[in-house]
């Protein structure tokens, strides 16, 4: 198992390297330099800026130095907040940046995964019941309609009209401030988890080996919790890897709706100010997390599926 894990991690190193390379060269080969827009820069000032950002060096040197920085966990310097390190902006000492995004994502998954699995399992066990129909319909609605529509509507109804919650802002990260953004995210992801679980439950329960278990006279409890639970959870687990990465991105969008001080603000500022270094950093951070989640899920999958063990 350790061997599998190490192998799996080693395989993803080239993938990450390829992504970094792609992003880096995409940014640096595009004509124009980021300071074109800044007016009234004296040639001396421009020269010192170019030096500070290593833009005077040949591109391959820039690339290797950037890689070296990344290996040391350093994302370089922001191009908007001149001279500020990106690490300081992404991972501030107080609550903000990545910490906000991560917290929202974690809260979302902590609630969405068990609720999705429980609802889905119940729906699958009671196929065609009204509960099942609600789960199926909920899935259709919430996979079709994104948070950027449901979010503002939730604010309009629950915050502005009914005044149950604040309309936005971080507060001090308290329950009332986080309730709406996290709920919107939960509604975006839990229905998919429920739907996949439901399908998996239906598949597994109609499988031949469950029929064998019933033929052996096993009580329902042991059929469900001993024979059915593992195969039911496998498709759900392989869904969770990409989903976790998706929730991080979803959280960034939700931050925009609820004006939370996370990666979302940094992204918007970077996009409007052409802060390439920042966008690169965010993209690479996102890719790294995506890859890490996929590794975790693969290892978990392997632990649960005896067929992959050799």
């Amino acid at each position: 198992m350790l061997k599998f894990a190490i192998k799996r991690i080693l395989v993803s190193v080239p993938t990450l390297l390829a992504i970094i390379t792609l992003v880096f060269f995409l940014v640096h080969i595009t004509p124009g330099n980021p300071f074109d827009g800044e007016r009234a820069l004296s040639p001396e000032a421009l020269k010192s800026l170019m030096e500070q950002y290593r833009l005077d060096l040949p591109i391959w040197q820039q690339y290797l130095l950037y890689l070296n920085d990344l290996i040391h966990g350093n994302f370089g310097i922001s191009m908007k907040y001149l001279g500020q390190s990106i690490n300081g902006l992404l991972f501030p000492d107080n609550m903000g940046g990545f910490w906000v995004t991560l917290r929202i994502s974690l809260y979302t998954m902590i609630v969405a995964v068990p609720i999705g699995i429980l609802f889905g399992a119940y729906a699958g066990l009671h196929k065609n019941s009204w509960f099942d129909k609600i789960v199926v319909a909920g899935n259709i609605f919430f996979t079709a309609v994104p948070t950027m529509v449901t979010g503002p509507l939730a604010v309009l109804i629950l915050a502005v009209t009914l005044r149950l919650f604040p309309a936005g802002g971080w507060g001090d990260g308290d329950f009332m401030h986080l309730f709406l953004p996290v709920s919107v995210l939960i509604f975006a992801y839990a229905p998919t988890i429920a739907f996949v679980t439901r399908g998996s439950v239906i598949d597994v329960l109609s499988s031949n080996y469950i029929r064998t278990a019933r033929a052996k006279g096993l009580p329902t409890k042991s059929i469900l919790f001993k024979h059915a639970i593992r195969p039911t959870l496998l498709p759900v687990i392989s869904l969770l890897g990409p989903m976790f990465a998706g929730v991080l991105v979803g959280a960034v969008v939700t931050e925009q709706i609820f004006t939370l001080p996370g990666i979302g603000v940094l992204t918007t500022n970077a996009a409007t100010n052409r802060d390439y270094n920042m966008i690169m950093a965010i993209t690479i951070l996102g890719s790294t997390l995506t890859i890490i989640f996929n590794i975790i899920v693969d290892i978990l999958y392997m632990v649960l599926d005896p067929k992959i063990k050799q």
């Binding site: 109609s206 469950i210 064998t212 052996k216 001993k226 024979h227 005896p306």
Partner: protein
């Protein structure tokens, strides 16, 4: 050889229906038969004849949209309508069932040891240790080499034939009175098939149980069974002892089935097949389900078909005058 024994399974007027989008599939239509102590009975018919569904209904294992009516008495106890907790005391203990596809019928996520011992722990209240020892013994009985170590493997680490042996061993653990084998050899290659049949014969000798053997292969029946039930369109067409069937079959469908067995004794240019298709179970005709494909069909076939007794153990459901078609 099985005369004057007590019956252990008595099926009376069994009906199995499945609700589907376009109506009701009538898989079994008023089927009645008996199984006696210690005999091996073959149930023969094409796919869709209702043979598997009959047995699943007996076990209470129909798919969710299926309903059973009629009566199934096992050792005097009515099984139809029994709650699943009461049924669970009987199935896996007194009645066991081996399924067609050994590749998918064992749980791929659990070790063989876990799947076998749970039966004994549940029905015989054994400890895990006792159950494990008993399971290893049973694996040895069905000739699994190195059973002591291999019991701790997962199903995918066994070949198809070995898996079916494991399956049979698992079902024999409780020494059931009745073993239902639903085409247990269909998915296996011919040499393995022969080994499994031999195994079943040995087991009957050793454990003295009754076996219901579902198959579409008359050749297998000739090899193994004491008696045969021929099914078509969810109903019984003919039942007789094995020699009687091969020497004195009466029903046109039985004859057609027999004609489709390849034989080395006779020289035939061409194997006979039965023309036409199995009946549509959504819309069965009145009377005999076989009428559309029968070469002896007459007007009488659309009315109620009489049961005709040739002897005590030879019954035919047909309108023809018996003996007239030999």
């Amino acid at each position: 050889m099985t005369n004057n024994k007590t019956s252990i399974l008595e099926v009376k007027n069994l009906k199995v229906e499945f609700k589907v989008q376009d109506g009701k599939v009538k898989a079994v239509n008023g089927l009645s038969f008996k199984i006696y102590d210690g005999e091996i009975v073959g149930i023969v018919g094409e796919s869709g004849s209702g043979k598997s569904q009959t047995m699943l209904a007996v076990m209470g294992l129909l798919a969710g949209n299926g309903t059973t009516s009629g009566s199934v008495k096992f050792m005097g106890n009515e099984l139809v309508g029994l709650s699943s907790s009461k049924l669970n005391k009987i199935r896996g203990d007194k009645i066991a069932m081996v399924f067609q596809d050994p590749m998918t019928s064992l749980n791929p996520y659990l070790k063989i040891s876990s799947q076998m011992t749970e039966v004994l722990i549940l029905h015989k209240k054994m400890s895990y240790k006792e159950a494990l020892a008993e399971s290893i013994k049973m694996l040895e009985t069905v000739k699994i080499p190195d059973a002591k170590n291999r019991i701790h493997l997962y199903p995918h680490e066994f070949s198809g034939g070995m898996r079916q042996r494991v399956m049979i061993a698992m079902m024999l653990l409780t020494r059931p009175k009745l073993l239902i084998a639903d085409e247990p050899t269909t998915a296996l290659d011919v040499t393995v098939q022969a080994q499994i049949l031999e195994l079943l014969r040995d087991i009957r000798q050793e454990f003295g149980m009754s076996i219901i053997f579902i198959t579409h292969d008359m050749g297998v029946v000739a090899n193994l069974c004491d008696r045969v039930n021929v099914m078509y369109g969810g109903g019984l067409m003919e039942t007789a002892n094995i020699n009687e069937i091969f020497e004195n079959a009466q029903h046109p469908y039985t004859k057609a089935l027999l004609d489709s067995i390849p034989s080395i004794d006779q020289e035939v240019d061409k194997l006979r097949t039965i023309p036409g298709e199995p009946p549509n179970l959504l819309q069965l005709p009145d009377g005999c389900p076989f009428q559309a494909r029968c070469d002896k069909v007459s007007d009488k076939c659309q009315t109620d078909i009489p049961l005709q007794k040739i002897s005590n153990r030879h019954i035919v459901k047909c309108t023809l005058e018996l003996g007239s078609m030999i």
